[in-house]
């Protein structure tokens, strides 16, 4: 690393937390919009308020938890096939 390198934008925690705040606000607005806007309903489950938001969040958390569990019996050393 060079000595006097200008520190990157994401090196400062305050920048990161600012961005995250903007992100949270967008998420909140999207959920609020669900009540303001009349969506077309193609499937019964879509009647649940903020169905897509809930599904996306829960789906991804489950995805990561299952993937982490998979590591327990699928993960081997980097050179597993080269040995």
């Amino acid at each position: 690393m060079t000595e006097h390198e200008p520190s990157g934008f994401f090196d400062k925690p305050e920048n990161v937390s600012k961005l995250l705040k903007v992100f949270y606000v967008i998420c909140a607005v999207l959920v609020a919009a669900d009540f303001a806007v009349h969506r077309h309903i193609y499937h019964d489950w879509e009647k649940i308020p903020a169905f897509y938001a809930i599904y996306g969040f829960v789906g991804c958390v489950i995805l990561v938890i299952i993937a982490k569990e998979m590591r327990k019996f699928l993960m081997r050393g980097e050179d597993y096939y080269d040995e």
């Binding site: 690393m1 998420c27 969506r39 599904y55 996306g56 991804c60 995805l63 990561v64």
Partner: protein, 573 residues
């Protein structure tokens, strides 16, 4: 244009490959860059129909069939080869240039093949030309990976050949049209053989590991060619031969879902993209399986978009590999400081594959999902929705995050060569244009008649909710330190069966056979030794046998007497 001036669609690219063998330097680069344009212009000259038909052993061959479906893939492959050529301009490796162009030519030949025999020829050429892009990495891993790739690809070709021979025998025609799986008698076997041949090239579950094995081992530039052609030819073949087969819906939804779990825990970022390639093909296969006009349009439109955005993502990761020599998530991070342009280009690709509104994946993916709901595939629709969230998670967030952000790896480098940047910029601009103006671009080429309006408030809002809350899940898991860290590792997949289990089994079997053989050999030798020892009297210093005690002349006299006696007996009879 006068049809006399037209040449078979694959020929311009193939001639470009031949020129690349002979030429060097700027002349070679110029020829390679011009070749896809000549090829595309040549395509524009064709009317719909069959060209250069001829008889072969009583069968009508139709080497070039032009219709909307084949034209769409034809244009796509010329566009993809142009981008990949620009991306590879800086390298001096003749093998890669020639293999890349010949591979693109084979893909073009395959989608314009009007009969199964021509399809088979290009099907095998795809395998033979592309494997050199893997071997060109010139590492031991790439070498053995390329061999596994070649064996599986050739197996697919052999199955296609077997299937088409059965079909030709039963129906008396080699024409490649709707094949379907409903046949009687032996034609059923032929149809299934062709189905599996396509399925192998399409990376169906359990036969998908050639893709995740070989693509990440290829050269940074070679992978761009690889990701564009083989699987898309297979998607085309399914759309042509097996549209509306319900089994494809279930195979497709499996392909869309299972790779995302592997992608989350995979460390090699190009292998993450290989898994996500299978996931995207899953969407296309579902569309083909549903088989309505809108679903089929969605499938081929998604294939078109996927080549560009997956190519873009592969190019950004290739640029990282080219500049840093590293591609594992565990070794990268913080590259946004030294590669800001590549970072932005990567994020455009990430937005496109995640189907953000105004980016190319949005329209085509929602066409397939709407078709699934409209045809009553509720479970499929829910699983596709899950897969769509998962794509954003692993390809949209994980790829840019671990390569360019996350913790600073301390790597300091520069932007990749200009030609790489240009190729990535072209792809990124196309992603935005296709996503923002779908009706004027890709969707004007769609083969089936169907109206679809993607940009209504429902689609945009629900898609944004899905994506932002998937991102929220990532943020939340990360802040709570629940996100699985990138670890140097190998994850077992279906290839374990032929890379570990089968070799271990064969080794044991071979050992057992060898053990039995050596034991048998030993016992035979012991038997002979014993026979020799028993025939010699060591104390007396002479053999035990009666004849051995005599002089050789005496022995001979005895045998002559026996012979004469025998002769006498035979004479009397």
């Amino acid at each position: 244009m006068n049809s006399l001036m037209l040449v078979p669609p694959f020929l311009p690219l193939m001639l470009g490959a031949l020129a690349a063998i002979l030429l060097r330097g700027w002349l070679r680069n110029a020829i390679m860059l011009v070749t896809p344009f000549i090829g595309a212009l040549n395509l524009m000259g064709f009317e719909h129909g069959l060209f250069w038909t001829y008889e072969f052993m009583g069968y009508a061959l139709e080497p070039v069939r032009i219709d909307k479906l084949s034209l769409m893939f034809g244009y796509l492959f010329h566009l993809a080869s142009f981008i990949a050529i620009v991306y590879a301009l800086h390298i001096k490796d003749t093998v890669q240039h020639v293999a890349g162009l010949a591979y693109a030519a084979s893909a073009v030949g395959a989608v314009f093949a009007g009969d199964l025999l021509t399809l088979f020829v290009f099907w095998e050429l795809l395998a033979l030309t592309s494997v050199f892009l893997v071997w060109a990495r010139r590492t031991n891993r790439a070498y053995s990976s390329g061999f596994r790739y070649l064996i599986i690809q050739v197996l697919s070709g052999v199955m296609l050949l077997a299937g088409l021979l059965i079909f030709a025998q039963v129906t008396g025609s080699l024409r490649f049209d709707d094949i379907g799986l409903e046949h009687g008698g032996i034609a059923q076997i032929g149809a299934w053989l062709i189905f599996f041949a396509f399925g192998i090239k399409c990376a169906f579950p359990f036969v998908h590991n050639w893709l995740t094995d070989a693509y990440p081992e290829a050269t940074p530039t070679g992978t761009i060619f690889l990701a564009s052609f083989t699987t898309k030819v297979a998607v085309y073949a399914f759309a042509r031969g097996f549209a509306g087969e319900e089994i494809l819906v279930w195979i497709g939804v499996t392909m869309a879902c299972f790779p995302i779990f592997f992608a989350v825990i995979e460390n090699d970022l190009r292998r993450v993209l290989a898994y996500s390639l299978i996931n995207q093909i899953g969407f296309m296969i579902v569309g083909i399986g549903i088989g309505t006009a809108i679903a089929l349009n969605g499938a081929v439109a998604h294939a078109f978009n996927d080549v560009i955005f997956k190519g873009l993502l592969m190019m950004t990761m290739g640029a990282v590999l080219h500049m840093t020599g590293k591609i594992n998530g565990s070794e990268l991070g913080g590259l946004y400081k030294s590669m800001p342009k590549t970072t932005i280009l990567c994020m455009v690709g990430a937005a496109s594959i995640s189907a953000f509104p105004l980016f190319s994946g949005f329209v085509s993916k929602s066409m397939i999902m709407s078709a699934a709901v409209a045809e009553g595939y509720d479970v499929v629709w829910l699983l596709l929705l899950f897969a769509a969230a998962g794509v954003f998670h692993h390809a949209g967030i994980k790829i840019p995050y671990f390569a360019f952000f996350a913790h600073d790896s301390g790597i300091r480098t520069t932007e990749p060569p200009t030609n790489m940047l240009i190729a990535m910029t072209i792809a990124a601009v196309l992603c935005v244009i296709f996503g923002t103006f779908p009706q004027q671009t890709v969707y004007a080429l769609l083969p089936w008649d169907a109206n679809y309006e993607p940009y209504d408030i429902t689609h945009v809002l629900t898609q944004l909710q899905l994506l932002f809350f998937s991102a929220l899940a990532f943020v939340w898991l990360n802040l709570r330190n629940m996100y699985p860290p990138e670890l140097p590792s190998t994850n077992l997949d279906a290839d374990w069966f032929y890379r570990k289990l089968a070799p271990a089994f064969l080794k044991r079997f071979a050992c057992a056979v060898y053990g039995v053989y050596t034991k048998f050999e030993e016992s035979v030798i012991a038997l002979i030794k014993r026979a020799v020892q028993n025939s010699y009297d060591a104390e007396a210093g002479q053999p035990k046998g009666y004849f051995a005690k005599l002089w050789p002349t005496e022995t001979m006299v005895v045998w002559v007497a026996v012979l004469l006696a025998g002769y006498l007996i035979i004479y009397f009879f």
